[in-house]
Protein backbone atom coordinates (compact mmCIF):
# COMPACT_ATOMS: atom_id res chain seq x y z
CA UNK A 1 0.00 0.00 0.00
CA UNK A 2 1.34 3.36 -1.06
CA UNK A 3 1.14 6.15 1.51
CA UNK A 4 0.35 9.44 -0.17
CA UNK A 5 2.28 12.24 1.54
CA UNK A 6 0.92 15.21 -0.43
CA UNK A 7 -2.59 16.39 -1.28
CA UNK A 8 -3.64 19.37 -3.36
CA UNK A 9 -7.20 20.69 -3.04
CA UNK A 10 -8.36 23.04 -5.81
CA UNK A 11 -10.61 25.62 -4.15
CA UNK A 12 -9.93 28.74 -6.21
CA UNK A 13 -13.03 28.78 -8.43
CA UNK A 14 -15.98 31.15 -8.46
CA UNK A 15 -18.69 28.57 -7.98
CA UNK A 16 -20.83 30.69 -10.28
CA UNK A 17 -23.12 27.85 -11.38
CA UNK A 18 -24.15 27.29 -7.78
CA UNK A 19 -24.65 31.04 -7.35
CA UNK A 20 -24.44 31.26 -3.56
CA UNK A 21 -21.93 34.11 -3.70
CA UNK A 22 -19.20 32.28 -1.87
CA UNK A 23 -16.55 29.69 -2.71
CA UNK A 24 -17.95 26.18 -2.94
CA UNK A 25 -15.50 24.76 -0.39
CA UNK A 26 -17.19 26.99 2.21
CA UNK A 27 -20.71 25.89 1.29
CA UNK A 28 -22.22 24.05 4.24
CA UNK A 29 -23.65 20.56 3.97
CA UNK A 30 -25.39 19.35 7.13
CA UNK A 31 -23.93 22.25 9.13
CA UNK A 32 -20.29 21.92 8.06
CA UNK A 33 -18.34 23.45 5.19
CA UNK A 34 -17.30 20.96 2.48
CA UNK A 35 -13.69 21.83 3.31
CA UNK A 36 -14.12 20.37 6.80
CA UNK A 37 -15.24 17.02 5.36
CA UNK A 38 -12.16 16.98 3.14
CA UNK A 39 -9.69 17.92 5.89
CA UNK A 40 -11.11 15.12 8.04
CA UNK A 41 -10.48 12.62 5.25
CA UNK A 42 -6.94 13.90 4.80
CA UNK A 43 -6.04 13.84 8.51
CA UNK A 44 -3.27 11.30 7.87
CA UNK A 45 -1.77 13.19 4.92
CA UNK A 46 1.03 15.38 6.30
CA UNK A 47 1.31 17.91 3.47
CA UNK A 48 -2.07 19.34 2.48
CA UNK A 49 -2.02 22.26 0.04
CA UNK A 50 -5.14 24.32 -0.52
CA UNK A 51 -5.24 26.40 -3.70
CA UNK A 52 -7.26 29.59 -3.19
CA UNK A 53 -8.45 32.37 -5.47
CA UNK A 54 -12.02 33.65 -5.25
CA UNK A 55 -12.62 35.30 -1.83
CA UNK A 56 -9.23 34.05 -0.76
CA UNK A 57 -9.12 35.79 2.63
CA UNK A 58 -12.37 34.15 3.73
CA UNK A 59 -11.17 30.73 2.57
CA UNK A 60 -7.77 31.19 4.24
CA UNK A 61 -9.36 32.23 7.57
CA UNK A 62 -11.74 29.26 7.63
CA UNK A 63 -9.08 26.81 6.45
CA UNK A 64 -6.59 27.75 9.18
CA UNK A 65 -9.35 27.52 11.80
CA UNK A 66 -10.05 23.96 10.65
CA UNK A 67 -6.44 22.84 10.20
CA UNK A 68 -3.45 24.95 11.12
CA UNK A 69 -0.67 22.97 9.39
CA UNK A 70 -1.90 23.26 5.82
CA UNK A 71 -0.12 25.27 3.14
CA UNK A 72 -2.14 27.86 1.21
CA UNK A 73 -1.17 28.23 -2.44
CA UNK A 74 -2.49 31.31 -4.23
CA UNK A 75 -3.87 31.29 -7.76
CA UNK A 76 -4.51 35.00 -8.41
CA UNK A 77 -5.46 34.26 -12.04
CA UNK A 78 -8.36 32.03 -10.94
CA UNK A 79 -10.88 33.93 -13.07
CA UNK A 80 -9.15 33.05 -16.31
CA UNK A 81 -7.53 29.67 -15.59
CA UNK A 82 -8.78 26.09 -15.36
CA UNK A 83 -8.57 23.66 -12.47
CA UNK A 84 -5.43 22.23 -14.05
CA UNK A 85 -3.64 25.54 -13.37
CA UNK A 86 -4.64 25.35 -9.68
CA UNK A 87 -3.48 21.73 -9.52
CA UNK A 88 -0.23 22.63 -11.25
CA UNK A 89 0.42 25.53 -8.84
CA UNK A 90 -0.48 23.38 -5.84
CA UNK A 91 1.83 20.56 -6.88
CA UNK A 92 4.67 22.80 -8.01
CA UNK A 93 8.07 21.79 -6.52
CA UNK A 94 6.65 18.53 -5.11
CA UNK A 95 8.69 15.67 -6.51
CA UNK A 96 6.58 12.79 -5.19
CA UNK A 97 3.15 11.48 -6.19
CA UNK A 98 0.38 13.76 -5.13
CA UNK A 99 -3.35 13.39 -4.53
CA UNK A 100 -5.38 16.01 -6.42
CA UNK A 101 -9.01 16.71 -5.63
CA UNK A 102 -11.58 19.43 -6.20
CA UNK A 103 -12.69 21.34 -3.13
CA UNK A 104 -16.40 21.05 -3.86
CA UNK A 105 -16.93 17.32 -3.32
CA UNK A 106 -18.25 15.24 -0.43
CA UNK A 107 -16.51 11.85 -0.44
CA UNK A 108 -17.66 8.76 1.38
CA UNK A 109 -14.94 7.74 3.81
CA UNK A 110 -14.54 4.03 3.07
CA UNK A 111 -14.27 4.28 -0.72
CA UNK A 112 -12.02 7.33 -0.32
CA UNK A 113 -9.61 5.39 1.90
CA UNK A 114 -9.68 2.45 -0.53
CA UNK A 115 -8.82 4.86 -3.33
CA UNK A 116 -5.81 6.15 -1.36
CA UNK A 117 -4.63 2.65 -0.60
CA UNK A 118 -4.67 1.78 -4.33
CA UNK A 119 -2.35 4.67 -5.23
CA UNK A 120 1.06 3.68 -6.57
CA UNK A 121 4.24 5.71 -6.87
CA UNK A 122 4.67 5.87 -10.64
CA UNK A 123 1.27 5.08 -12.17
CA UNK A 124 -1.64 7.53 -12.26
CA UNK A 125 -4.83 6.47 -10.49
CA UNK A 126 -8.08 8.09 -11.56
CA UNK A 127 -11.20 8.39 -9.42
CA UNK A 128 -14.48 7.56 -11.12
CA UNK A 129 -17.99 7.53 -9.73
CA UNK A 130 -21.47 6.52 -10.79
CA UNK A 131 -22.64 9.13 -13.33
CA UNK A 132 -25.15 11.48 -11.68
CA UNK A 133 -24.13 15.17 -11.80
CA UNK A 134 -25.71 17.64 -14.22
CA UNK A 135 -22.48 18.46 -16.05
CA UNK A 136 -20.75 15.11 -15.91
CA UNK A 137 -17.56 14.26 -17.76
CA UNK A 138 -18.37 10.67 -18.70
CA UNK A 139 -15.73 8.00 -18.41
CA UNK A 140 -15.52 4.89 -20.55
CA UNK A 141 -14.00 2.19 -18.37
CA UNK A 142 -13.58 -1.55 -18.67
CA UNK A 143 -12.02 -4.24 -16.48
CA UNK A 144 -8.32 -4.76 -17.10
CA UNK A 145 -7.45 -8.38 -16.24
CA UNK A 146 -3.75 -7.46 -16.31
CA UNK A 147 -3.97 -5.04 -13.36
CA UNK A 148 -7.19 -6.22 -11.75
CA UNK A 149 -8.43 -2.61 -11.90
CA UNK A 150 -10.83 -0.83 -14.19
CA UNK A 151 -9.06 0.89 -17.06
CA UNK A 152 -10.22 4.28 -18.36
CA UNK A 153 -10.28 4.27 -22.15
CA UNK A 154 -11.81 7.68 -22.77
CA UNK A 155 -13.42 10.84 -21.37
CA UNK A 156 -16.39 12.57 -22.98
CA UNK A 157 -18.90 15.29 -22.19
CA UNK A 158 -21.41 13.81 -24.64
CA UNK A 159 -21.01 10.03 -24.83
CA UNK A 160 -23.01 8.90 -21.82
CA UNK A 161 -21.69 6.00 -19.76
CA UNK A 162 -22.16 4.44 -16.32
CA UNK A 163 -19.20 6.34 -14.88
CA UNK A 164 -18.18 9.96 -14.56
CA UNK A 165 -14.82 11.56 -13.73
CA UNK A 166 -14.83 12.08 -9.95
CA UNK A 167 -12.31 14.96 -9.98
CA UNK A 168 -9.87 13.08 -7.82
CA UNK A 169 -6.61 11.53 -8.98
CA UNK A 170 -3.29 10.40 -7.64
CA UNK A 171 -0.64 11.51 -10.13
CA UNK A 172 3.13 11.34 -10.42
CA UNK A 173 5.07 14.62 -10.37
CA UNK A 174 5.22 16.49 -13.66
CA UNK A 175 2.13 15.04 -15.31
CA UNK A 176 0.04 18.22 -15.07
CA UNK A 177 1.08 21.30 -17.02
CA UNK A 178 1.03 25.05 -16.60
CA UNK A 179 -1.78 26.89 -18.42
CA UNK A 180 -3.22 23.60 -19.64
CA UNK A 181 -6.85 23.01 -20.49
CA UNK A 182 -9.23 20.75 -18.59
CA UNK A 183 -7.64 18.18 -16.31
CA UNK A 184 -9.40 15.27 -18.02
CA UNK A 185 -8.13 16.44 -21.43
CA UNK A 186 -4.61 16.33 -20.07
CA UNK A 187 -5.23 12.88 -18.58
CA UNK A 188 -6.54 11.66 -21.96
CA UNK A 189 -2.96 11.73 -23.26
CA UNK A 190 -2.07 8.90 -20.90
CA UNK A 191 -4.84 6.40 -21.69
CA UNK A 192 -5.50 3.73 -20.66
CA UNK A 193 -5.48 4.87 -17.03
CA UNK A 194 -5.96 2.77 -13.93
CA UNK A 195 -9.26 3.71 -12.26
CA UNK A 196 -10.82 3.14 -8.87
CA UNK A 197 -14.47 3.92 -8.08
CA UNK A 198 -15.27 6.29 -5.21
CA UNK A 199 -18.61 7.25 -3.82
CA UNK A 200 -18.92 11.01 -3.89
CA UNK A 201 -21.12 14.02 -4.52
CA UNK A 202 -19.79 17.02 -6.37
CA UNK A 203 -21.58 20.30 -5.82
CA UNK A 204 -21.69 22.29 -9.07
CA UNK A 205 -25.34 23.35 -9.08
CA UNK A 206 -28.20 23.80 -6.66
CA UNK A 207 -29.56 20.39 -7.68
CA UNK A 208 -26.14 18.84 -6.89
CA UNK A 209 -26.17 20.53 -3.49
CA UNK A 210 -29.58 19.06 -2.69
CA UNK A 211 -28.32 15.61 -3.69
CA UNK A 212 -25.25 16.02 -1.45
CA UNK A 213 -27.37 17.16 1.50
CA UNK A 214 -29.77 14.27 1.07
CA UNK A 215 -26.83 11.88 0.83
CA UNK A 216 -25.16 13.14 4.03
CA UNK A 217 -28.47 13.16 5.90
CA UNK A 218 -29.26 9.64 4.71
CA UNK A 219 -25.85 8.32 5.78
CA UNK A 220 -26.08 10.00 9.16
CA UNK A 221 -29.51 8.48 9.60
CA UNK A 222 -28.27 5.03 8.65
CA UNK A 223 -25.26 5.36 10.95
CA UNK A 224 -22.85 5.00 8.06
CA UNK A 225 -19.63 6.97 8.10
CA UNK A 226 -19.54 10.07 5.94
CA UNK A 227 -16.30 11.97 5.61
CA UNK A 228 -16.52 13.84 8.88
CA UNK A 229 -18.83 11.49 10.78
Amino acid sequence: MQTVAHAVIAAAGLGSRLGLGRPKCLVEVAGKPILEYQFDLLAQVPDVRLVVGYMEHEVIDTAFQLRRDITIVRNPAFRTTTTQQSYWLGGLHIEEPCLYLDGDIIFERRTFQTFLSCAEANAPLIGITEAKTEQAVFVAAEPDPRTGFLAVTGFSRTDRSLWEWANIACLPAGLLKENGGDVFTRLSRHLPLRAQPVECFEVDTEADLELAKAYVTRLHGAGTQVAAA
Binding site: D61, F64, I70, V73
Partner: protein, 202 residues
Protein backbone atom coordinates in the same frame (compact mmCIF):
# COMPACT_ATOMS: atom_id res chain seq x y z
CA UNK B 1 15.67 22.38 -2.00
CA UNK B 2 17.66 24.06 -4.75
CA UNK B 3 21.13 25.05 -3.49
CA UNK B 4 21.34 28.44 -5.15
CA UNK B 5 18.34 29.94 -3.38
CA UNK B 6 18.49 32.64 -0.72
CA UNK B 7 15.90 32.62 2.08
CA UNK B 8 15.21 36.02 3.65
CA UNK B 9 13.33 36.02 6.94
CA UNK B 10 11.68 38.96 8.61
CA UNK B 11 12.68 38.88 12.27
CA UNK B 12 9.86 40.41 14.35
CA UNK B 13 6.78 38.21 14.52
CA UNK B 14 8.25 35.71 12.04
CA UNK B 15 11.41 34.24 13.54
CA UNK B 16 10.55 35.65 16.97
CA UNK B 17 7.31 34.56 18.53
CA UNK B 18 6.69 38.09 19.77
CA UNK B 19 7.45 41.54 18.41
CA UNK B 20 10.84 42.71 19.67
CA UNK B 21 10.25 46.45 20.13
CA UNK B 22 7.23 46.14 22.47
CA UNK B 23 9.22 43.70 24.62
CA UNK B 24 12.08 46.16 24.94
CA UNK B 25 9.57 48.93 25.68
CA UNK B 26 7.80 46.89 28.36
CA UNK B 27 11.09 45.98 30.04
CA UNK B 28 12.03 49.64 30.17
CA UNK B 29 8.64 51.03 31.22
CA UNK B 30 7.94 52.68 27.86
CA UNK B 31 5.21 50.34 26.64
CA UNK B 32 2.54 53.02 26.34
CA UNK B 33 4.67 55.48 24.38
CA UNK B 34 6.05 52.86 21.99
CA UNK B 35 2.62 51.24 21.64
CA UNK B 36 1.10 54.59 20.63
CA UNK B 37 3.70 55.09 17.90
CA UNK B 38 3.26 51.51 16.67
CA UNK B 39 -0.51 51.96 16.39
CA UNK B 40 -0.10 55.21 14.47
CA UNK B 41 2.28 53.45 12.11
CA UNK B 42 -0.07 50.50 11.55
CA UNK B 43 -2.90 52.94 10.79
CA UNK B 44 -0.65 54.72 8.30
CA UNK B 45 -0.78 58.02 10.21
CA UNK B 46 3.00 58.34 10.24
CA UNK B 47 5.47 56.71 7.83
CA UNK B 48 7.39 53.69 9.02
CA UNK B 49 10.78 55.37 8.91
CA UNK B 50 9.65 58.36 10.97
CA UNK B 51 7.99 56.06 13.48
CA UNK B 52 11.13 53.97 13.74
CA UNK B 53 13.32 57.01 14.30
CA UNK B 54 10.98 58.26 17.03
CA UNK B 55 10.88 54.86 18.72
CA UNK B 56 14.67 54.75 18.68
CA UNK B 57 14.80 58.23 20.24
CA UNK B 58 12.57 57.02 23.06
CA UNK B 59 14.94 54.14 23.70
CA UNK B 60 18.13 56.14 23.16
CA UNK B 61 18.78 56.79 26.83
CA UNK B 62 19.04 53.10 27.60
CA UNK B 63 22.34 51.27 27.61
CA UNK B 64 22.64 49.40 24.26
CA UNK B 65 24.06 46.28 25.90
CA UNK B 66 21.01 46.11 28.20
CA UNK B 67 18.67 46.22 25.19
CA UNK B 68 20.73 43.59 23.36
CA UNK B 69 20.42 41.26 26.35
CA UNK B 70 16.63 41.72 26.45
CA UNK B 71 16.41 41.02 22.72
CA UNK B 72 18.54 37.91 23.05
CA UNK B 73 15.93 36.46 25.39
CA UNK B 74 12.98 36.99 23.03
CA UNK B 75 11.46 33.56 22.27
CA UNK B 76 12.02 32.27 18.74
CA UNK B 77 10.14 29.63 16.77
CA UNK B 78 12.12 26.41 17.31
CA UNK B 79 11.45 24.96 13.83
CA UNK B 80 12.51 28.16 12.08
CA UNK B 81 15.56 28.53 14.33
CA UNK B 82 16.61 24.97 13.43
CA UNK B 83 16.14 25.70 9.71
CA UNK B 84 18.29 28.84 9.98
CA UNK B 85 21.01 26.86 11.74
CA UNK B 86 20.99 24.03 9.22
CA UNK B 87 21.03 26.27 6.13
CA UNK B 88 23.07 29.20 7.32
CA UNK B 89 24.77 29.69 3.96
CA UNK B 90 21.40 30.39 2.36
CA UNK B 91 19.53 32.17 5.18
CA UNK B 92 19.39 35.87 6.00
CA UNK B 93 17.54 37.94 8.58
CA UNK B 94 16.07 41.09 7.07
CA UNK B 95 14.96 43.44 9.82
CA UNK B 96 14.35 47.11 10.36
CA UNK B 97 15.70 46.71 13.87
CA UNK B 98 19.08 48.12 14.84
CA UNK B 99 22.21 46.04 14.35
CA UNK B 100 23.47 46.93 17.80
CA UNK B 101 20.27 45.71 19.48
CA UNK B 102 19.90 42.42 17.65
CA UNK B 103 23.57 41.41 17.38
CA UNK B 104 23.41 38.88 20.22
CA UNK B 105 20.16 37.32 18.99
CA UNK B 106 21.53 37.11 15.43
CA UNK B 107 24.70 35.44 16.69
CA UNK B 108 22.56 32.92 18.56
CA UNK B 109 20.61 32.17 15.36
CA UNK B 110 23.85 31.97 13.38
CA UNK B 111 22.81 33.55 10.09
CA UNK B 112 23.70 36.76 8.34
CA UNK B 113 21.73 39.95 8.91
CA UNK B 114 20.55 42.97 6.98
CA UNK B 115 19.33 45.61 9.42
CA UNK B 116 19.17 49.29 10.24
CA UNK B 117 22.37 50.58 11.78
CA UNK B 118 23.36 52.94 14.54
CA UNK B 119 26.41 54.15 16.38
CA UNK B 120 27.01 53.32 20.04
CA UNK B 121 28.34 56.28 22.02
CA UNK B 122 31.38 55.95 24.28
CA UNK B 123 29.08 55.84 27.35
CA UNK B 124 27.29 52.79 25.93
CA UNK B 125 24.15 54.72 24.92
CA UNK B 126 22.60 54.78 21.47
CA UNK B 127 24.10 57.38 19.17
CA UNK B 128 22.73 58.57 15.82
CA UNK B 129 21.06 56.16 13.38
CA UNK B 130 23.35 55.70 10.42
CA UNK B 131 20.81 53.89 8.20
CA UNK B 132 17.21 52.75 8.24
CA UNK B 133 16.80 49.57 6.19
CA UNK B 134 14.44 49.51 3.28
CA UNK B 135 13.75 45.82 2.87
CA UNK B 136 13.94 45.83 -0.91
CA UNK B 137 17.66 46.69 -0.82
CA UNK B 138 18.99 43.33 0.45
CA UNK B 139 16.75 41.39 -1.93
CA UNK B 140 18.21 43.26 -4.89
CA UNK B 141 21.71 42.73 -3.52
CA UNK B 142 21.21 38.98 -3.05
CA UNK B 143 19.79 38.61 -6.54
CA UNK B 144 23.32 39.08 -7.86
CA UNK B 145 24.59 36.16 -5.80
CA UNK B 146 21.70 33.68 -5.92
CA UNK B 147 19.44 32.34 -8.68
CA UNK B 148 16.30 32.89 -6.63
CA UNK B 149 15.29 34.83 -3.56
CA UNK B 150 12.52 33.52 -1.31
CA UNK B 151 11.14 35.92 1.31
CA UNK B 152 9.19 35.13 4.47
CA UNK B 153 7.33 37.78 6.45
CA UNK B 154 4.01 39.12 7.65
CA UNK B 155 3.94 42.87 8.20
CA UNK B 156 3.36 45.98 6.16
CA UNK B 157 7.07 46.84 6.38
CA UNK B 158 7.86 43.54 4.61
CA UNK B 159 6.09 44.73 1.46
CA UNK B 160 9.23 46.08 -0.28
CA UNK B 161 10.80 42.66 0.25
CA UNK B 162 7.78 40.82 -1.22
CA UNK B 163 7.69 43.13 -4.23
CA UNK B 164 11.27 42.20 -5.13
CA UNK B 165 11.19 38.47 -4.34
CA UNK B 166 10.90 35.47 -6.69
CA UNK B 167 8.73 33.61 -4.18
CA UNK B 168 6.92 35.16 -1.21
CA UNK B 169 5.64 33.23 1.79
CA UNK B 170 3.21 35.07 4.06
CA UNK B 171 3.71 33.75 7.57
CA UNK B 172 0.88 33.72 10.11
CA UNK B 173 2.54 31.81 12.94
CA UNK B 174 2.46 34.73 15.37
CA UNK B 175 -0.41 36.82 14.04
CA UNK B 176 -2.38 36.94 10.81
CA UNK B 177 -0.29 38.41 7.98
CA UNK B 178 -1.28 41.81 6.58
CA UNK B 179 -3.76 41.39 3.70
CA UNK B 180 -1.44 43.22 1.34
CA UNK B 181 1.36 40.80 2.17
CA UNK B 182 -0.92 37.83 1.43
CA UNK B 183 -1.93 39.42 -1.87
CA UNK B 184 1.73 39.70 -2.88
CA UNK B 185 2.69 36.16 -1.87
CA UNK B 186 2.69 32.74 -3.53
CA UNK B 187 2.12 30.80 -0.29
CA UNK B 188 0.54 31.38 3.13
CA UNK B 189 1.38 29.20 6.13
CA UNK B 190 0.48 29.44 9.82
CA UNK B 191 3.04 27.21 11.57
CA UNK B 192 6.83 27.16 11.77
CA UNK B 193 7.00 23.44 10.93
CA UNK B 194 4.79 23.90 7.87
CA UNK B 195 6.91 26.82 6.72
CA UNK B 196 10.13 24.79 6.95
CA UNK B 197 8.58 21.79 5.18
CA UNK B 198 7.49 24.10 2.36
CA UNK B 199 10.90 25.79 2.12
CA UNK B 200 12.60 22.41 1.84
CA UNK B 201 10.53 21.61 -1.27
CA UNK B 202 11.31 24.92 -3.01
Amino acid sequence: MKPNTAFCFDLDGTVTRREVLPIIAAELGLAEEIGFLTQMTIKGQIPFEMSFRLRCRLLAEIDVATVAKIVEQVPVDPAIAAFLGEHREQCFLVTGNLDVWIARLAARLGCRVFSSTAVVRSDGRLGPLTSVLRKSTPIRELRGQYDRVVVIGEGQNDMPMFEEADIGVAYGGVHAPAREVIENSEYVVAKGETLCRLLLTL
